[in-house]
Symmetry: C2
Subunit: 225 residues, 2 copies
């Protein structure tokens, strides 16, 4: 599986290399402990060291690798670290939703409705890539609408990992059949419904439910793989 070319439109070589490497690390094609050298990667991708250097810095900022004196060592994402990523996602979305509950939500609700429509369409066409992307956009839209510069920055620092992870897990979900896919859509609808009510406690409860459910699903998925 390669990184969807459509997601790389307008990206520089450095970003593209970062995306490819990130996906390889998340899928386990590149294993934890492995050592990466700028020269070797540059040779592999047929580029110079400059974009590779940029890519390695990106992955280092994301915590997927650690830059050392010589070479970069791959840290990878084990099950526990994925859990921790979900901790952070929950922390961010919980904060953001609390904030949204005190704001005008008309705009975000309309956007989320459209996104759910697109998810439904992608499910119909069995387009896992598009589905994963819309799933991603659903959450990104909510976070963006809270209009909190620092929270947005936190999101930026994990968004690419989240996207790559969604791509992988969505493809697993699609293999499990349509009822599983529908459940994912339903989960998002519940979040949207909570936002519509504007009830702070209910929204928080919905978000908690969402992540608890995702958590369990994820572990089952890990157990199988």
């Amino acid at each position: 599986m390669a990184y969807p070319a459509a997601w790389l439109r307008g990206a520089s070589l450095g970003e593209a290399i970062a995306c490819e490497l990130r996906l390889s690390i998340i899928m386990g094609t590149i294993k934890g402990g492995e050592k990466l050298s700028e020269n070797r990667i540059a040779a592999d991708f047929g580029t110079s060291r400059s974009p590779v250097r940029e890519a390695l810095r990106t992955l280092s900022d994301e915590g997927l690798i650690r830059l050392e004196r010589m070479g970069a060592v791959v840290l990878g994402l084990n099950e526990e670290e994925v859990d921790e990523l979900f901790d952070v996602r929950y922390l961010i979305e919980s904060f953001v939703q609390e904030r949204l509950s005190r704001m005008d939500r008309d705009s975000v609700i309309i956007q989320l409705e459209r996104i759910i429509d697109k998810m439904t369409l992608a499910a119909k066409h069995l387009d896992a890539e598009e589905f994963a992307y819309q799933d991603f956009m659903f959450h990104e839209t909510i976070i963006a609408e809270a209009k909190h510069s620092r929270i947005w920055q936190l999101w930026r620092s994990i968004r690419q990992i989240v996207l790559a992870l969604m791509l992988v897990t969505t493809q697993r979900v699609f293999k499990e059949g349509p009822e599983r896919i529908d459940r994912v859509i339903a989960k998002h609808s519940v979040i949207l419904q909570g936002l519509r009510t504007g009830n702070k406690e209910e929204i928080q409860q919905q978000v908690r439910n969402y992540f608890e459910d995702s958590f369990i699903t994820l572990h089952n998925s890990f157990g199988q793989s």
Copy 2:
């Protein structure tokens, strides 16, 4: 005011340039809206574009500037954005302390005691730089001890800004006299005391108090400047 040279030991040129620029932006020497060019900065610092490029990426990741097609535009930190930064700090420390309350805290308590001693010493010698650094280390130590890879990553994405901000505010505090300095030390002692008790609710209350107080102090400080 320049960035303390002692804090740059072992740093690459790129990191050093990032620190200098960051401080200039936070102090307002470089104002929001201003446009930065790699070439001009490289000329100013007497280096090539490579480290400057790295520095600009760092500042972009930190949300202090925005990289555009041509030139980078300075975003700066107004009062509201500092508030938002404190939102994030509170979010992180609150999470971390909850986690710590369920862990063995002996090690972190000893470390924090030592840090408070160093703060007291720095206060005695009126060494604002050292005081700011120990203040910073106090919080960083707490976060590190929670041993949560993703939370640590979030912290990493704001730690340099926090450090620079602490340097600026600490120097203001030092100008206001010793009683203000002692209050800062006392605030940290309260946090430490909360950690000693291990009582979850009390710890959370202490952390909330700390940030509410910092919040108010900060706004007063902003009002004066």
